[in-house]
Symmetry: C2
DNA sequence: TTAGATGCAAAGACTTTGCAGTTAA
DNA sequence: TTAACTGCAAAGTCTTTGCATCTAA
């Protein structure tokens, strides 16, 4: 967990009078440690359980809701009705997702041009941008050419 | 329902050996008639029930799945875990959604520049674009200035 | 001390499915 | 004729919530 994340958490907790408890510590560690990949509620539950086998789903859902509300986690929909959470918007608030239809791998990317364009369009329509999210679903060129996709987990 | 939609439906049904039944007719009419607004499964159910009170959820879900798979409906996530379906991608396949945080109104827009950029980025990353969807969540300027949002249903 | 947090278990919302009967082609 | 379709009701999945108990500040 980066210092920045830790500070943001502190600020959020302070501002809302939230208490730091062991169950929450575990969930925060699971959410913001390591590679910072996005995860589903269930994946986060598994991660948290590895740290502390007593983690409960009720607390997890409640904590995730707090973090989303506080802007520390971004709710993203990667298709198929699966709700994921992205802990990376703190470090790179403008990133987008490319979802490989073939292997379901999600690739994060940033693009300044798109960000600027989105801003312009939003203002032109009479709004102030709050959050933006692009999902591009695409087919893997590699798979199409070679019959193999390096991201493909099975195969 | 436009002629184009009707033809696409026909093609889909032909290619998959699907049969046109009364329950399906009702659901198709509900989905593709009139203003072409996006809808949730439940909203579609209500619309369909207005046409034929015997519409069942089972058939509706099964039909929606077929249409999504066949590219006639686009599944979109407008946040808050609500899955909606958009029947407009047939007529305007490149449109995006701006979601007003204040009134939850969804505004559809197209932008050629963004479409082109998305294409470039996708290819640069080694993929072939399949479908793209942008969601911009934004605050209503009007509301901020005047305290009133013309889109706001309540107030 | 006490407002906030927890965890269980039950409830909820939404969607899918098995199956026996029905129907389009 | 028969493979496809339907609708019911039951089951599944994911998430939320009431409540009695616990605990951080």
């Amino acid at each position: 967990m980066t210092k920045e994340v830790r500070e943001k958490i502190q600020t959020l907790f302070d501002s809302k009078g939230l208490r730091m408890t062991r169950p929450r510590e575990v969930i925060l560690e699971a959410a913001f440690s390591e590679q910072g990949d996005h995860f589903t509620a269930d994946e986060l539950f598994e991660k948290a359980r590895e740290i502390d086998g007593k983690t409960s789903r009720a607390t997890l859902y409640r904590t995730v809701a707090l973090l989303v509300e506080g802007g520390l986690l971004q709710e993203i929909d990667l298709g198929r009705g699966v709700t994921s959470y992205d802990p990376n918007f703190i470090d790179s608030p403008h990133h987008n997702h490319l979802i490989c239809i073939d292997c379901a791998k999600v690739i994060e990317f940033e693009d300044q041009h798109i960000s600027v364009l989105e801003d312009c369009i939003t203002r032109r329509l009479g709004f102030t941008p709050a959050s933006k999210s692009i999902q591009i679903k695409a087919n893997c060129e590699e798979l199409r050419r070679t019959g193999k996709c390096r991201n493909l987990k099975t195969g």
